[in-house]
C-alpha cells in the first residue's frame, strides 16, 4: 500500500525517493542500499509521528481508506473456517451485511459485519456498503441462531449509514434497525462489537448493541457523518472537519467518554498497510474478550449489558447556559 492521503504527502515523498533509488535494481551500490535503509527508517519515524498526531478529520480519511481491510478480509484472515449464512428468509440477501458461523482457532462464533465493496462490481453488489432492511433482518436471524446454539456473536462495524433510498423505506429500514436494538439488548449470549472502519449512525448501531464495544485505533463512530452534521449545524458540508472535531468521533475520544471499552492498535500507517497484522490484532482481541464474557453467567451478562446502555447519558439537575436572545 502506498501513502496516498493528503496529509501523508511527506511520507509519499520519502517513498518516492526510495523507489527512485530502488529503480536502479542490479546497479544499486552499497551507498544506495545504505540510503534506502536510512530512508526507510525515516519513513517509519515520520509515519509514527504523523499518525500519533492525526486530527479527527484525518482519521476519517484513514477509516474510509479504500484499501482498509473490510469485514470479508478480516473473516478470511482470522477464521480457520467460515460458512456464510445468507438471506433474511423473507426478501433477499443483502450483500452489504455478511455473516455466518466461523471458527477462530477452533472456537466457534457467529460473526457478521458490514461489507463495503472494493472493486466496482463488488461495490454495486453491496450497494456501496449501504445496508438495507433485509441486511438487518439477516443479521437478526444470525444472532438469534447464535443465541439458540450458545455461540458468542462478533460484529464488525464499517458502514457510513443505512441506505437512504426508497426501497429502504418501503421495506421498513427503521423498524428493522429498531428490532435489532431490542433483540441485541436481551440476546442470551455474549455480543462483542468492533468498529473496524466507519461506524455511522443508526446503520452502525443496528448491529452494534453489545456487551463491549471495541474500536480500531483509527476507526470512527459517530451519530452522523461529519459532512451531514456540517451541512446541518454549520449549514455547509465544507465544515466537515470542524464537525468531525466537535462530535468526538475518534477511538481515543470515545474511550475517554467511556462510550467504548477498548482500542485495538493498528499497524504502522493504519490497518490498510498490513491487513494480516490488523487481523491478528482483531482476532486476539476477540478471543480475549469473548473468553472473559463467557465466564459470566448469562443473567449477569444481560444485567451488565442492560446497565451498560441504561447508564449512558450526560445530564445535570439545573439547566446550563444562558439564552443569547
Amino acid at each position: 500500500m502506498a501513502y496516498d492521503l493528503e496529509f501523508e504527502r511527506p511520507l509519499s515523498d520519502i517513498e518516492k525517493q526510495i523507489h527512485g533509488i530502488e529503480r536502479k535494481g542490479e546497479k544499486m551500490k552499497a551507498e544506495d542500499r545504505t540510503q534506502v535503509r536510512e530512508l526507510r527508517q525515516r519513513l517509519d519515524h515520520r509515519t509514527d509521528e504523523i499518525y500519533r498526531a492525526l486530527t479527527p478529520w484525518q482519521r476519517v480519511q484513514v477509516a474510509r481508506h479504500k484499501d482498509r481491510p473490510y469485514t470479508h478480509d478480516y473473516i478470511k484472515l482470522m477464521c480457520d473456517d467460515f460458512f456464510e449464512l445468507r438471506g433474511d428468509r423473507r426478501h433477499g440477501d443483502d450483500r452489504a451485511i455478511l455473516g455466518g458461523i466461523a471458527s477462530l482457532d477452533g472456537k466457534t462464533v457467529m460473526i457478521l459485519g458490514n461489507q463495503k465493496g472494493r472493486d466496482t462490481k463488488e461495490k454495486v453488489e453491496c450497494n456501496f456498503g449501504l445496508a438495507h432492511a433485509e441486511g438487518y433482518r439477516k443479521a437478526q436471524r444470525i444472532m438469534r441462531q447464535a443465541e439458540r446454539f450458545h455461540l458468542p456473536v462478533v460484529t464488525l462495524i464499517d458502514i457510513s449509514g443505512a441506505s437512504p433510498d426508497l426501497e429502504a423505506e418501503q421495506r421498513g429500514i427503521a423498524g428493522a434497525i429498531a428490532e435489532n436494538l431490542q433483540v441485541m439488548a436481551v440476546l442470551r449470549t455474549p455480543v462483542l462489537a468492533i468498529v473496524i472502519g466507519e461506524g455511522g449512525s443508526g446503520g452502525a448501531l443496528g448491529i452494534s448493541v453489545a456487551d463491549r464495544i471495541l474500536m480500531l485505533e483509527h476507526a470512527i463512530y459517530t451519530v452522523a457523518s461529519p459532512e451531514a452534521a456540517a451541512s446541518i449545524l454549520w449549514r455547509d458540508a465544507a465544515f466537515a472537519s470542524s464537525a468531525a472535531e466537535a462530535m468526538k468521533i475518534t477511538a481515543p475520544d470515545l474511550l475517554e467518554l467511556r462510550l467504548i471499552e477498548e482500542i485495538i492498535p493498528e499497524p504502522r500507517g493504519g490497518a490498510h498497510h498490513d491487513h494480516r497484522a490488523a487481523a491478528d490484532a482483531v482476532k486476539a482481541a476477540i478471543l480475549r474478550n469473548i473468553g472473559e464474557l463467557e465466564r459470566l453467567p448469562v443473567e449477569e451478562l444481560l444485567e451488565h449489558r442492560y446497565r451498560r446502555y441504561r447508564d449512558i447519558g450526560a445530564y445535570t439537575r439545573e439547566p446550563i447556559g444562558a439564552a443569547s436572545v
Partner: protein, 306 residues
C-alpha cells in the same frame, strides 16, 4: 417572555375529550406562539393553512383541532397542546423534569456553544426539552406517557430525551400501566454525538423489558417522526397509530431524493405510505385519536392479567 425557572409542566388543561378549543389567557398564548402554523397570524381571527394556503376562520381552526377543514392538513402541536388534547383534565403529572443536558462534548458549532443554543430553545419553545414524561389518565384509565415536541431543537433526541423516555418505560413496566408515546422528532441530536445515538439502544433495551412484562405500548406518530426516534422506540410499539400526512420515515423524502437523484411520489415517507407498506396499524384523524386510544386501553385492560 416566560420565566425560565418556572417548570414547563405540569399543565392543567381546560378541556378533555374535545381538544384545544376554549383555552384562554397567557397559557393559551404560549401554546399558540409555540405552533409555527399560527405564529404570524392574529389569534382567533384568521389562520392561513400552511399546506393549502386557504384562509380559515381562527375559531374554526381551533375547533377543528388545528386541522385544515379544506385539505385535511394536521398542523403540528406542542407537547402541552397534545397533553390537553389527549389526557383527562389535569390528570397529567410530570416526572423526570429535573434532568437537563450536560454538554458532554463541550460542543461548539460555528460560534455558538451548545448550552447557549439550548437556552435559546428553552426561551423560544417555552419548554425545557423535546419531551415531557409523566403519569396521566385517559377516560379514567391510567397510563404512563411521553410526549415529544418538535419545537424544541426539532424534537431531536439527546441524553435527556432518551433518559426521560427510558424512565417512562421503566415506570410503565414497574407499575404495569400501559405506555403511550406521542412521537415527533427530526432524529438524534448531533450536538451530543454518540451519547445521542446510544439513546436509541437505551430506549430499545428498556422496551425489551417492558415487552417481557407484557405491558402494552402504544405509539402515536405525529409530523414529523423520522431518524433515530422512528428507528428505535417509535417503531417498537405494539400498536402504532399515525396522524394523516405526518412525515414518517428513516431518512425523510428530501434526503432520499438527493440520494437517488430523482423525484419521488408525493406520499413517500408519510403516514399513509407507512400504512401501505405494513409499518403501522392505523392513520387516524386528530379528532379520532383519543377515542381510538381509549378503546385500545379498554381492551388491553380487559385482558387476563399475567
Amino acid at each position: 417572555m416566560r420565566d425560565e425557572s418556572r417548570p414547563a409542566l405540569p399543565v392543567n388543561g381546560q378541556n378533555g375529550l374535545n381538544g384545544l378549543n376554549g383555552r384562554n389567557g397567557a397559557h393559551a398564548e404560549a401554546a399558540t406562539a409555540a405552533t409555527a402554523a399560527t405564529k404570524a397570524l392574529p389569534r382567533n381571527l384568521a389562520v392561513k393553512c400552511p399546506n393549502c394556503r386557504e384562509l380559515l376562520v381562527g375559531k374554526d381552526w381551533e375547533k377543528n383541532l388545528r386541522v385544515c377543514v379544506r385539505c385535511g392538513y394536521h398542523s403540528r402541536l406542542s407537547a402541552r397542546e397534545r397533553i390537553e388534547l389527549l389526557f383527562d383534565d389535569g390528570s397529567f403529572e410530570a416526572f423526570g423534569s429535573d434532568l437537563h443536558s450536560a454538554d458532554p462534548l463541550s460542543f461548539v458549532s460555528r460560534t455558538q456553544p451548545y448550552p447557549a443554543y439550548l437556552a435559546d430553545y428553552r426561551a423560544r419553545a417555552g419548554m425545557d426539552e423535546a419531551v415531557v414524561v409523566g403519569r396521566a389518565h385517559m377516560d379514567g384509565l391510567p397510563i404512563v406517557a411521553a410526549v415529544m415536541d418538535s419545537n424544541f431543537v426539532g424534537g431531536s433526541m439527546g441524553s435527556v430525551v432518551g433518559e426521560r423516555v427510558t424512565q417512562a418505560i421503566e415506570r410503565a413496566a414497574e407499575e404495569r400501566v400501559p405506555l403511550l408515546i406521542v412521537a415527533t422528532s427530526g432524529g438524534a441530536r448531533m450536538q451530543e454525538g454518540l451519547f445521542a445515538l446510544m439513546q436509541m439502544a437505551k430506549t430499545a433495551a428498556a422496551l425489551a423489558r417492558l415487552a417481557e412484562r407484557g405491558v402494552p405500548f402504544i405509539c402515536l406518530l405525529t409530523d414529523p417522526t423520522t431518524g433515530g426516534v422512528w428507528a428505535s422506540f417509535a417503531a417498537l410499539a405494539d400498536v402504532i397509530v399515525a396522524e394523516p400526512g405526518a412525515m414518517v420515515g428513516f431518512a425523510g423524502p428530501r434526503v432520499i431524493e438527493q440520494f437517488m437523484h430523482q423525484r419521488l411520489p408525493k406520499d413517500t415517507a408519510t403516514a399513509e405510505f407507512a400504512l401501505k407498506h405494513g409499518m403501522i396499524d392505523a392513520v387516524a384523524h386528530r379528532r379520532d385519536v383519543r377515542p381510538t386510544l381509549v378503546r385500545l386501553l379498554r381492551m388491553f385492560g380487559a385482558a387476563r392479567p399475567a
